[in-house]
Amino acid sequence: MTTTAPNLDDVTASATSLRRFLAGLPGVDQVGAEARAATLATRSIKTTAKQYALDLAIRMVDLTTLEGQDTPGKVRALSAKAMRPDPADPTCPAVAAVCVYPDLVAVAKDQVGSSGVKVASVATGFPSGRTSLDVKVADTADAVAAGADEVDMVIDRGAFLAGQYGQVYDEIVAVKAATKDAHLKVILETGELATYDNVRRASWLAMLAGADFIKTSTGKVQPAATMPVTLVMLEAVREFRNQTGRMIGVKPAGGIRTAKDAIRYLVMVNEVAGPDWLDPDWFRFGASSLLNDLLSQRTKMTTGRYSGPDYFTLD
């Protein structure tokens, strides 16, 4: 959609040009964006479409535990569940990844082995990001050294809100360098950015700085992921591909707890970004309790009835 600067290298040449570019992005009308998201949420996904969506959603889950009380035992159990979410049904696909703190990456990596389930680690002083750049880079390098396939970093919201876009950009570039071959997901913490205009700017900023994924939230701030915020981010990745040919993934995280919500997100991905994004390589759900609802709905689709919550593991 963007009108300005056909050559994006010029945009990132200086803090001034970056600032000018981000300020020149078309605005987001709040009422219109929310109305669009609400309309998409009225799509009715039934039978075969629902089956397809449930399996896809399971494959897109980044099964997450990010608590002070996390232990190796907890992470091992979570990793086991990630590989085989429904022990009673071998046709149930594995999730995309487990997402843990850096110090538990090795435990998770050891557990998932070569199953294809990735290990994602939060880093850069998650969730607030209030450390020096050196510490953030070291935090990232640590996680990667421990075997993380993906790194979920947080941006410096304070710097962003102060208008220091250049600083935010430089930090992402530095962290990206430290991730080496690992995929970089950049958490915008949209609940703290507050406006959709800021969400669009932060999305572009992260994509220009080399993000592989842009992610809504840490899950530690309310509101976390919402439909309209994700809509704005999906529009951003769509336009970014139009202009650069490079595809960026999107990950809403926090607050998505039901299969119904997950399906609404998939409808939005399909109709806003396009069907190319309907793949775990390009869209993820950061969630923990969502998985059991997806499993419960999936079982209901095949057996015709709901099983009790005790039929699904609590890990």
């Binding site: 078309p26 987001v28 397809y52 069907p275």
Partner: protein, 480 residues
């Protein structure tokens, strides 16, 4: 990349929620009666051409009986009923409409062809809201700004179109009853069913007999109604052509007249607009209700500096529109209401081709039976083209460009119509500047086709006169 496609399975709304009788009489004096000359016509589902019911065609004698019943009810009951008591009936009707909303939504989509998403989320809730809103005015007329004790007019003759059958009924009946009038309403001949179901609601609400009368039929019935000598007020929504005939027929009589006619609204997109939402607004402006909207944004005026990106986004978005079964909850665009209307849309589109405009539609499969037209845009359109001047009343958008705000105003106003307009810009001062200069009854800023019972609606120039909705809407039904 995606390893398979996310195909939405059919998700049809249940049709058996509504009972459709095989034939309907006329609703006169609180009950259904047969027509005197035994004539009838069929109403069909435009999505399948299936016959839904046999409808009585009211002749002059029937219309006379309906007007007499309305007069009697006015003299003996309704004019003696206090505002507070009239409000009770209106609240009751509003509540019943909300309670029976699924029934009304399914019936509306069946008879009209509009998608269930729109009848369910727009038509029926707004109809109920209209009654709620005007119920509130019924005992407060002295505070509406028309003097301390404004009086009703008497019997209102109301003729409504087929594009929003139930909603237009609500726009007409709610203020009329609130102000203390009785009504004879004629729904359009292609969409009489929700009005007939509304008669059932009047019975359920125990509205006194004769306060609302519904006569079905085509042009001749409407003519008999508006020319009836005992009618005090005529309200018409429909084409400018018929509106002219009615104005002539009513001229020189005591009848008070309001007309809500055609439009050819400009939807103006400035280069600083929130483009993604503007594209939604364009789509909603012209493809909402298959473009069968008098205030549709059928002329798109795009600032030349953003023309390419707006067009590209619009085309991409149009590719996601789902055309098909109106009862499917995922349908965005339903059926064209009648064979006659489809022929007109086709004719004007062919004229667009022959005048040199470039036609584009996304690839979409249209059902075999019924009346269908794909969402269509014409680019390279100039003000001289007929498709930029005449109301097409279908899912067809003419795209024009402008360079400066002054040129946008000039082009937007360069039409015999003046019902609505849209402005898309992030600049608040420009919105106000535009709104001051656009000669249109409604100016939407960064949105389109939004309705609210509290907001007056009506036209400039050949789009008609009088206002419906809001406090202003009461004036048409009061002796002021």
């Amino acid at each position: 990349m995606a390893d398979s496609v996310f195909e939405y399975a059919p998700a049809p709304e249940r049709r058996d929620i509504v009972d459709i009788a095989s034939s309907y009489g006329l609703f006169i004096d609180g009950k259904f009666v047969d027509g005197t000359d035994g004539k009838s016509f069929k109403t069909i589902s435009p999505a399948s051409e299936e016959v839904l019911a046999e409808i009585t065609e009211a002749g002059e004698a029937d219309v006379d009986a309906a007007v007499k019943a309305a007069r009697r009810a006015y003299d003996r009951v309704w004019s003696q009923t206090s505002g507070g008591d009239r409000a009770k009936y209106l609240y009751r009707i509003a509540r019943i409409l909300a309670e029976r909303s699924r029934e009304f939504a399914v019936l509306e989509s069946l008879d009209n062809g509009k998608p269930i998403r729109e009848s369910r989320d727009v038509d029926v809730p707004l109809s109920s809201a209209w009654f709620f809103y005007y119920a509130g005015w019924a005992d407060k007329l002295g505070y509406a700004g028309f003097g301390p004790n404004p009086q009703p007019l008497g019997v209102a003759a109301q003729v409504i179109p087929w594009n929003f059958p139930l909603m237009m009924l609500a726009w007409k009946i709610a203020p009329a009853l609130a102000a203390g009038n009785t009504v004879v309403l004629k729904p359009a001949e292609t969409t009489p069913l929700t009005a007939l179901l509304f008669a059932d609601v009047c019975q359920q609400a125990e509205l006194p007999a004769g306060v609302v009368n519904i006569v079905t039929g085509a042009g001749a019935t409407g003519q008999a109604l508006v020319t009836h000598s005992d009618v005090d007020k005529v309200a018409f929504t429909g084409s400018t052509e018929v509106g002219r005939m009615i104005a002539k027929a009513v001229a020189g009589s005591r009848k008070k007249l309001t007309l809500e006619l055609g439009g050819k609204a400009a939807n103006v997109i400035f280069d600083d607009a929130p483009i993604d939402q503007a594209v939604e607004g364009i789509v909603n402006g012209i493809f909402f209700n298959q473009g069968h909207v008098c205030c549709a944004g059928s002329r798109l005026l795009v600032q030349e500096s953003v023309y390419d990106e707006v067009l590209e986004s619009l085309k991409r978005r149009m590719g996601t529109l789902r055309v098909g079964d109106p009862l499917d909850k995922n349908t965005d665009i339903g059926a064209i209401n009648s064979a006659e209307q489809l022929a007109r849309i086709k004719l004007l589109s062919e004229i667009g081709d022959s005048e040199g405009a470039e036609r584009w539609s996304p690839p979409c499969e249209l059902p075999e039976h019924g009346y269908w037209f794909p969402p269509t845009i014409f680019t390279g359109v100039s003000q001289a083209h007929r498709i930029a001047r005449e109301e097409i009343f279908g899912p067809v958008l003419s795209v024009l460009t402008f360079r400066t705000p002054a040129e946008a105003i000039e082009k937007a106003n360069n039409t015999p119509y003046g019902l609505s307009a849209g402005v898309w810009t992030d600049k608040g001062s420009r919105i106000l500047w535009m709104a001051d200069r656009l000669r249109a009854g409604v100016v939407w800023a960064n949105t389109f086709n939004r309705f609210d019972p509290a907001s007056p609606f009506g036209g400039y120039k050949e789009s008609g006169y009088g206002r419906e909705g809001g406090r202003h809407g009461l004036e048409a039904y009061l002796d002021v």
